[in-house]
Symmetry: C2
Subunit: 144 residues, 2 copies
DNA sequence: TTCATTGGTTGATATTGTCAACCAACAGCC
DNA sequence: GGCTGTTGGTTGACAATATCAACCAATGAA
């Protein structure tokens, strides 16, 4: 596969290939989850007092979609919902016992992908990449 | 929105935000197309003797999906299929007259997004970003 | 000539994304 | 206290995208 000169191609391809790799990793670990499940679990694991609203804001996804995925995670007993003392409209999300165990294995799988992704690329270069990427994100978000 | 330190987050977000922006641009230009349509049109425009196989290989998408989108593009009279003299199984894809006209407008829309994306980022940095991105892609593809 | 491979098509189904209506709780305001 | 606009979340309907497998005809190599 030749190298792409076009920033668009690079972006599309990176996201796509990365998704494919992650998906495969998840499946290799025999986890009964799809991509969205994984992403939300990660966010919930990271954020202490996580609400659906927070997830929607950070990911930019539709809140309806968020609601549905969370519901699935709940019926799978991976996350728990407790009423938010600060605001009776919302609920705080957290990983259940099972969820935490699963999360550890997900991390493993994803770390492996990340390791593959970054193989042979000096840390300095990776940092620069992330920095530039963040600036692009700022540009895109500003516009809206 | 705070800057992400995690390469995964950056990748996801970039791809997502970029997609959102492109979609909006397409719609602002009143083009009756969805994302896949646009991507395939671009590929066909770029590749002189383009076949479905070629598109599937480059994008990594399922060939069934490719077939379907092409069929739609054909019924919209945007692309033409002519038998491939080299191989009677396959067909060469090309933009129709209408397709070419549309393509010009798509380019405009997408160029605008790219411009927004890269605003204020020195060319040198963009080049480095692309280069690093390509290396990551090589890493991911090698693995499979 | 066989036979495995390749380019493409089709069907079925899962996943992800989008849009809009809706409800209850909130927050500011008079 | 009552309004009113906003916010967190839910739901329905539907479009777009992805995945998997079976299948066919042409190809190419043995």
């Amino acid at each position: 596969m030749p190298h792409q000169a076009d920033i668009r191609q690079v972006l599309w391809q990176l996201a796509f290939q990365f998704k494919v790799s992650s998906k495969r990793a998840i499946r290799d670990y025999d986890l009964p989850l799809n991509g969205m499940h994984v992403r939300l679990l990660q966010m919930i694991a990271r954020q202490p007092a996580c609400t659906a609203q927070h997830i929607a804001a950070v990911t930019g996804r539709d809140k309806g979609q968020i609601t549905r995925v969370i519901k699935e995670l709940e019926t799978m007993d991976l996350v728990t919902r407790t009423p938010n003392p600060e605001d009776r409209r919302s609920q705080l999300l957290a990983l259940s016992q099972t969820g935490q165990g699963l999360m550890a294995r997900i991390q493993e799988a994803e770390d492996e992908v990340t390791k593959t992704l970054l193989k042979g690329i000096p840390k300095k270069e990776v940092d620069a990449f992330i920095e530039t990427g963040n600036r692009m994100l700022d540009n895109l978000r500003e516009e809206s």
